[in-house]
Symmetry: C2
Subunit: 364 residues, 2 copies
Amino acid sequence: MSRPPLPSESPPSAPPEQPQRAARIEDVARIAGVSTATVSRALSDPERVSPKARARVMEAVAQVGYLPNQAARSLRSQKSRMVLVVLPDLSNVFFSRILQGIEDVLFEAGYGMIIGNLDGSPEKEARFAAFMATGLVDGAILLNGHLVGQTRDGQGSPAPLSVPLVALCEAIPHAGIPQIEIDNRGAARAATLYLARQGHGRIAYVTGPAGNSLERERFAGYRDGLEQSGLPFDAELVVPGDYTLASGAAAAEALLRLKRRPGAVFCSSDEMAIGLVGGLAAEGIEVPDGMSVVGFDDIEFAAMARPSLTTIHQPRRELGRTGARVLLDLLAGRRAPAHVRLETKLVERLSTRPAGGRSVTGSG
Amino acid sequence: MSRPPLPSESPPSAPPEQPQRAARIEDVARIAGVSTATVSRALSDPERVSPKARARVMEAVAQVGYLPNQAARSLRSQKSRMVLVVLPDLSNVFFSRILQGIEDVLFEAGYGMIIGNLDGSPEKEARFAAFMATGLVDGAILLNGHLVGQTRDGQGSPAPLSVPLVALCEAIPHAGIPQIEIDNRGAARAATLYLARQGHGRIAYVTGPAGNSLERERFAGYRDGLEQSGLPFDAELVVPGDYTLASGAAAAEALLRLKRRPGAVFCSSDEMAIGLVGGLAAEGIEVPDGMSVVGFDDIEFAAMARPSLTTIHQPRRELGRTGARVLLDLLAGRRAPAHVRLETKLVERLSTRPAGGRSVTGSG
DNA sequence: GGTGACGATGTAAACGATTACAAAAATGAG
DNA sequence: CTCATTTTTGTAATCGTTTACATCGTCACC
């Protein structure tokens, strides 16, 4: 096709006022002297193109700084190379390292990560569900323990699980969704056994929120531990909490009100354990001399706390990594394990000591 | 084209095996008896469509559960309604609340959030830069203190800043990018003045990493504070750190080696302050009786620490919110402020006390 | 009743890639 | 050298929207 002749003063070398429109595949094709199909192939699957053409394409790409438009790409290919990560609370330190692990693996595989921070809002939940249904993401990792956007408004069909999902940490009661988790029950048993072996006969337990699936497991583990140690279960020693610092402090008061105080406490979260230590200190009871305390999670701060906290270490980053890997398997159509359990580890620090023994570190 | 006759048992009312293809705008249009243009208008700008048509469209949408395909939408409209947030380290607790603030505002405005975790990797940086250039995101918020993907490989043109940007916390030396930050210098001055007013004559300072733009400001503020209090500056009292717990602990040792010990220390981060407290305790010096300590940031743990930490509170969530708002202004073509400064606040807790006074809380 | 303005609607052309299909070129066997 | 086969390339359809432009009524005003 012939164009109208250009004004004589405009050599094609450097058009001055043009606002730098991003280069398209067509531009690359023209410069390289091939078709757009060849350019596309050279970029996505270099083997399918002759070395000569490939070189010309690469040169043209470099010359114009071509980057394929993502919207066009994902419209046509029906893949977005994006993953949604849904979590209940972005500001909760517990999740940040998991996110990091997820990001590690996703990035490596060329995927991006969209964050869905639920924050207790049903609106958010609905929107994130839409993310999955509109092709915005190829899959999702759920850290929130339940399915997202199960809205069946009006006569609408039961929202189809449009993309592959993976559940991290909390179990989702839905068949066919791989679960990545730790052995909460076994870990809680280990913590309880540890205290029992240190000679503590009355071991209290500060729970997480009722109804939480993790919590049920941990509570079961606590009872396992008691049983295995030949200790009696005493409902009086079970104090309700909700994983927060404040509930740990409240638990301290509750425990001190008991006629027969426990010599040790196992808390279902580090935050509660730290709150408990503070609450005990306010009443003049120092940890570990006055009481031994074990936490759960091994958050960053557990090691910094005073006294540093004996706790159950969860491999958070590795949990994230594994979850991402399993999702990638699903996305690639590979067979994925239905269930992965990661090892926990009891980390001994200074918030526990044998019952009846004397403190090793003389305090002031 | 004629198909082979179906087995008689399959009436067309409910095709059983069809894998539930997502409804397209065309389906909605057909059911509502209007054109696709009208459907599009009814959804994006209901005012432009007659009430009758609107109602029919809405009904059809509900009936088939239509959700517009994002890729198609953003391909055509050249807008993705996504924002990239770039940060140096996702696992750093300092950022999580900022992220939360950003997410708050973005969600409200109908935007999604893609996370770019740099993690010190140039590859990541390049990829995130590509996110901006490929239409994947409409804008970006940078928490990392420098421009992303400034790669000018080969003869490539100087990567055009393709989308609106906002710099949060750290300043980016580049004209035209709005900066959202706190008054680091003023806050550091306030912390120093506070200690001076408590009667401390020798006030040490534990720095952040050299070369950091925040750090320069804070150091200047420390000197301002000394000057304003009529105290001499003593280079011996400036101990290098890098914001980490470990460097705080190391600083403790350094300070204890001095012939004339300071009575108070101002640390450029809470983590260092907490490390310092631990390091001092290891040498038998308790805070605040043996030394007063002030931190910076007011991270979650500052209040939980023992002793709880006097520190400079940064409105992290609000920083995130403001950054997101400014970016939205930019995206909407509204005039955005070039510079926003948020207020900090000195939070008095138990890691400081007047010089020479006696401790109020009797320990042990 | 004619005319202009306005609002509601429809038609069809983008947006920028990927990819099914067909054609052309290269390769190898006989 | 011919023919079958394989590789490489090109053409054009396609993904599912939005939106410029054209069209068609409707209404008010003269």
